[in-house]
Subunit: 148 residues, 4 copies
């Protein structure tokens, strides 16, 4: 789906803005993640897999998949509310379901299910090509700081 | 969607079979739940709300929503593997996001994300008419007993 | 441990006050639960098991164990902040680990791990006599309404 | 508590064995974690904080805390069953409750709550000196491969 086809109604930040924000707010990890798509109802982020993300045997590590889900969901929230760097992860529940093939490019699709005054809740699916189902699923909650 | 339109490929039990199984295996609660749709990729179950499901003020209780998600996911697993009464819930993670309107009919859509030799994992969304998003979401894991 | 031995420093509501509150705020279910102990660091609640709590075979149902953990944690929070009937469960993650023996009396020990301005987080262990470990464990989060 | 005081009944691997296993099985991350204590009922692991573990501002990142809990629980399971490198994390539910002070040394205490034929379930608390409660809590489930 080309950027031109993305429905921007409801979007406070588009793909380019999210990618730039990621690089500025989290310089150590921003380069690991590419924002592939941003829409009001979901954001898709890909992991740029490097040696440091792998366990022996070439499988992507649990903490790396956790980070991918966290970044995707965080950006899905920001896509709705704008560049709020103080939104903080409070809860994550993650299930690891299939071992991603060695060298596979992981993508994570995150959707916001609730955007409240205080909490944002959503879920995310991590996928890799060639599997018969998702690699992992996660549900995540963020606390949103009060407006100044 | 009429029953005739349901894609039965991959289905081990259809809507009628799931409803019958529920009534026989769990007589105390079977009548509380109506299986609305059963397909290989998802099952939809509705709660037949009664006084015992409510908190003061008329809102559906947390344990009732937990039960709805558990039944829907359990049936989604059985729809794939057949009438396995010994499948047991091992983990549930549930987020309560919106208060369902008093008197609303709750429906739960459950999908199986992984059906392994030992574990089945899926997620479920509980919805009510007239809200701008889901009432609750849950992820659930079941252990599947070894075949005799 | 006798009531006299309970350390009341930090307690906003004692055992009797919590039991009374439960009966008044949640009349439909209050009688199912007995507050056995209340201290600033933990609350212990027992389930008064009845037919409606059981699955065929006599095992306590998942929703009932969910309710027990929820009540115990809710009261553990109230024991610290006073009778706040508007505190609402936002997230529960529960693991079912051992089948409780038929007829066993279940007790749940809940402790508050964080009492914030907006969120309270804690965990709970459900136990039954005669087992080599807990029946279930849960972690729970509540949102606390703003003070008037 | 000195090593000599640790109750070794029930321990399949002691502190030194667990540390050695970590370094061999997971060379990329083994050096980040120090096994401080190993007993049959709990294992304590400390994080050797480095630049790569931090977010801007010096706070330990979520994925790093996830990794700390995962390593501590994994070793708590191995302390009971021996060097089983094929045990795999299937589910983690984590709550982030307090921001650890910049430069603080994080320790994680993990305990196994159930050690079944197929699944191991436990919980973990992450702490830092000087706070009035834990930094984070996690519950974790591992699948244990069948014995050859």
């Amino acid at each position: 789906m080309r950027d031109d086809d993305v429905d921007r109604s409801g979007l406070a930040m588009d793909r380019a803005a999210l990618q730039a924000f990621l690089g500025e707010a989290f310089p150590q990890v921003g380069a690991d993640f590419t924002v592939e798509r941003a829409a009001a109802d979901r954001v898709v982020v890909a992991l740029e897999t490097a040696e440091r993300h792998l366990r022996p045997g070439g499988t992507v590590s649990g903490p790396t998949m956790f980070a991918l889900a966290d970044v995707a969901m965080y950006l899905a929230v920001l896509a709705r509310i704008g560049p709020e760097a103080l939104a903080v992860t409070t809860n994550v529940s993650i299930d690891f379901m299939r071992k991603p093939p060695s060298g596979a490019r992981l993508t994570c699709t995150a959707r916001v299910l609730k955007l409240g005054r205080v909490l944002a809740v959503g879920d995310a699916l991590i996928e890799a090509p060639g599997l018969d189902g998702p690699v992992a699923r996660a549900s995540l909650t963020y606390s949103i700081p009060p407006k100044r």
